[in-house]
């Protein structure tokens, strides 16, 4: 692409965002909507820089990330293990299928009341919800990945003398990885969403709490600030995950 068309594309990409910001600010300045409940971008930026300096926010961000990472690792890890074994040992797969299929359509948040009963009001219940968010997509896609491996790959490996557990580790799992990766990405997004919801519903720290705090103070700028931060965090983490999984580790399948 020539230098000029690259610049042109960049300009167009930004033009949409700029238009939105300008219109937003105009609505606020002209007070078309009550500015008490409809803050402008400049006010939000002001809040970001002055009311909540980044060092404070960092603590919230860290709390959130820790929660979601823990829940994601537990749920995702369990999901991979169960998904892979249930895909490898068909009998186990058929047996596990029942309970998993019944529980899968239940949104992670619907588990909140029962989680509070089982685990009380502490961190455990939140991590539990988050891990549920990761578990189901991952276990489903891991199982699918393992079940749909081309039998030809196994025959080829066996003719090269590979057998037993090595077959599982060196042939089956790599072949299933693309599906598992997709499941991981979905699982992360679900975990993140569950995190935010859990924090909005009940937390002392974390970005979701920040949003609710703004409500209590009656300061909508804080709410908007929190919303935007969450959106950015979601976008960034998903992008990093995507880059890592799909563009580096699994380049052989998905291409650059």
């Amino acid at each position: 692409m020539s230098e000029r068309s690259f610049q042109r594309n960049l300009l167009i990409s930004w033009s949409g965002v700029i238009v939105v910001l300008v219109v937003w600010q105009i609505i606020n300045t002209l007070q078309i909507v009550n500015p008490g409940i409809f803050p402008g971008p400049l006010q939000v930026v002001d809040t970001a820089l002055n009311r909540f300096p980044f060092s404070d926010v960092l603590a919230h961000v860290r709390a959130s990330i820790q929660r979601v990472a823990l829940g994601f690792l537990i749920g995702g890890g369990l999901g991979v293990v169960l998904g892979v074994t249930s895909g490898w040992y068909r009998l186990l797969g058929k047996l596990l299928w029942g309970p998993i299929e019944i529980l899968r359509p239940v949104p992670p948040l619907a588990w909140i009341p029962i989680a509070l009963i089982w685990f009380g009001l502490g961190e455990e219940s939140k991590v539990f919800i988050i891990s549920l968010g990761a578990f189901f997509p991952v276990v489903t896609s891991a199982h699918k990945g393992m079940s749909t491996i081309d039998p030809l790959l196994f025959r080829a490996a066996q003719s090269l003398g590979v057998k037993g557990p090595k077959l599982l580790l060196k042939v089956a799992i790599p072949a299933a990885l693309p599906d598992i990766a997709v499941g991981i990405r979905v699982g992360w997004s679900l975990s993140f969403g569950s995190l935010v919801a859990a924090e909005v519903l009940a937390a002392q720290q974390g970005l979701g709490f920040l949003v609710m705090y703004g409500r209590e103070l009656g300061e909508v700028e804080v709410i908007v600030y929190g919303i935007i931060l969450i959106g950015i965090l979601n976008l960034v983490t998903d992008h990093l995950l995507y880059r890592f999984l799909f563009q580096r580790q699994l380049r052989w399948h998905f291409g650059t």
Partner: protein, 290 residues
């Protein structure tokens, strides 16, 4: 692992493996359908649960036994919980909220997506906005929506519509962009005008992918409504399980979750069924898309 290839099992060493092989082979010969296995496991777990509560291994407050749940199930259908609000009221409330938000989102997303997808400048300009708006956690908008619209039904429907809109519009845009160029070339060499190509080629070719996005959006709608119903309302499935907890009725919570599971299952599949009916010509998605 392909179970047709029993020789693979044979390569694992040990006597235990051969026992497993024999059992497995016998079971397969019986050709028991998959769902029976699932049913057996579930029934077994339910029995185990009942047993554990009877013998004091599980706390009946935290794990109300299936026997009790059955009674709760019936009472929920007849008398309802909280008193007077029966299951079908909760179901109808939740479903109507989903429907309103979902339909609103679809009605907006399909036309806007078609326009954006057909215009490369619009598409490029809109992409950052759509991507960011989609990344915003819908639940986090709850306090903002309450500040704007109050605590009524509109707020709830709005949130569902928000969550669904960005998902559907993304898939519509991708559907339009991804239409196999050859269909367009073919239509051009058959003398079709631009308008005709849009309605008679792009639209039908986009449908499978749009349906796919709509499936995902419906799942999202369900997630959002359950969460939203847990605050500030007594009607709806989300409200049901939250209220139950407030009154220490674990049994109601669990039966409520069961209803949620059923609705979730139906929602997850209704579009697939609809798609098979409306698009009888469908093959693999790959053929229709680039």
């Amino acid at each position: 692992m392909p179970s047709s290839d029993t020789s693979l099992h044979a390569t694992t060493a040990g006597g235990r493996a051969s026992v497993r092989r024999v059992v497995w082979r016998r079971l397969r010969r019986l050709r028991i359908p998959d769902w029976v296995y699932g049913l057996v496991t579930v029934l077994f777990l339910l029995w185990l649960w009942e047993y554990a509560v009877d013998h004091g291994h599980l706390n009946p407050y935290q794990f109300p036994p299936p026997s009790k749940l059955q009674g709760t199930f019936e009472s929920l259908l007849e008398r309802g919980f909280p008193r007077g609000i029966t299951t079908d009221v909760h179901l109808r409330t939740t479903l109507s909220r989903i429907l309103k938000g979902y339909v609103a989102a679809t009605a907006l997303a399909i036309p806007s997506g078609l326009v954006i997808g057909s215009n490369s400048i619009l598409d490029r300009a809109a992409l950052p906005i759509i991507t960011f708006a989609r990344s915003v956690a819908t639940i986090s908008l709850l306090p903002l929506a309450v500040a704007w619209f109050g605590v009524g039904e509109f707020t709830r429907v709005f949130l569902i519509a928000y969550g669904c809109y960005w998902i559907i519009v993304t898939s519509v845009v991708e559907a339009v962009k991804g239409v196999n160029r050859q269909y367009i070339h073919a239509a051009q060499t058959l003398g079709a005008s631009r308008v005709q190509i849009f309605f008679r080629v792009m639209l039908p070719a986009s449908l499978p992918r749009i349906f796919s996005g709509m499936r995902v959006a419906l799942g999202m709608a369900f997630l959002v409504i359950i969460a939203v119903e847990m605050i500030g309302t007594v009607r709806g499935l989300g409200a049901l399980i939250m209220e139950a907890r407030t009154f220490y009725r674990t049994d109601v919570t669990i039966v409520g979750m069961f209803f949620i599971a059923i609705i979730g299952f139906v929602l997850a599949n209704v579009l697939s069924w609809l798609e098979r009916f409306l698009l009888p010509w469908m093959t693999d998605l790959d053929e229709v898309q680039r």
